[in-house]
């Protein structure tokens, strides 16, 4: 179950060399990319300035 995939039969080129679902480093990079993306999206919405323009127009 915990076997390490050598990934020798897969020859990836380009971005797939780093982000693929077959080699262990590829899988690791995909996981890290997903975590970084989620963190990025979370930070974006947290730090986004609240809209003040509509309130200023009404008053």
């Amino acid at each position: 179950m915990g076997g390490h995939d050598a990934g020798s039969q897969h020859q990836f080129t380009g971005i797939a060399k780093y982000f693929n679902a077959y080699t262990i480093t590829g899988r690791r990079n995909c996981v890290l990319l997903t975590y970084a993306s989620l963190l990025g999206i979370g930070l974006f919405f947290k730090l986004k300035p609240k809209k003040q323009a509509a309130v200023a127009e009404k008053s």
């Binding site: 915990g2 996981v31 997903t34 993306s37």
Partner: protein
């Protein structure tokens, strides 16, 4: 007119205290007296022989799929198994409090041990540990979804470990009390039905003996599996 002291069916799960002293501490120390230390003789007596045979066989079987690094956990797994199986079995005696019905105890065992396996995996083989969060051969569009799902399933493991043990034992004890009460209440009214209920109670008690042993084993087995992934 039947007077009964049972106010609620959940009273059996109240952690007992006496003059402010939590008796659960005594209950948790009880398994220790059930397993006397082995004397220096190679062949002591029947009980000790049976006990040491069981411990050795169990540890050997549990450690089979683990590599050498995992063998450091042998003592922990063996003692945890003995602890849980003794607590569960003793709890089947009438009017005995079962500490493993307390979620606090089971989570207190599950969370640190699970966390230890995760930290060991992340420290010693970071890439492999992180890579396991994405199943091999996942189609590309599904990758983010599966990473999230696998992360959730990783964090749900300690909860599942603790709640599984708690729920199984609590449900069993509750059922025993309910059916025993039913048999007792039915006895003056419908003796035949009460007899059938008593038979059901006997079968249920046998089931609970099996559940007590199996749940202790499953707890330790799953921990060893989590360790296998990370060591």
């Amino acid at each position: 007119l039947v007077l009964t002291l049972v106010l609620s069916f959940f009273d059996q799960f109240l952690s007992p205290t006496f003059l402010g002293i939590p008796l659960i501490a005594v209950a948790l120390a009880l398994p220790w007296v059930m397993f006397p230390a082995l004397p220096s003789q190679w062949l002591p007596n029947r009980q000790l022989l049976l006990q040491s045979w069981f411990i050795n066989r169990f540890t050997q079987q549990l450690l089979l799929p683990l590599n050498t690094g995992g063998h450091k956990w042998a003592l922990l797994f063996a003692s945890l198994m003995l602890f849980l199986i003794t607590l569960n079995m003793l709890g089947l005696l009438p009017y005995t409090f079962t500490p493993t019905t307390q979620l606090s105890l089971n989570l207190g065992l599950a969370v640190p041990l699970w966390l230890a396996t995760v930290i060991i995996g992340l420290r010693n083989q970071t890439t492999v540990a992180l890579g396991h969060l994405l199943p091999e051969g996942t189609p590309t569009p599904l990758i983010p979804v599966l990473v999230i799902i696998e992360t959730i399933s990783l964090f749900i493991r300690p909860l599942a470990l603790g709640v599984r043990l708690t729920a199984n034992l609590t449900a069993g004890h509750l059922l025993i009390q309910l059916i025993a009460t039913a048999a007792f209440v039915l006895l003056p009214l419908m003796p035949a039905v009460a007899a059938l209920t008593a038979v059901l109670l006997l079968l249920l008690t046998l089931l609970e003996v099996a559940v007590a042993m199996i749940q202790a084993y499953v707890f330790v087995l799953l921990l060893s599996l989590y360790l296998q992934e990370n060591i």
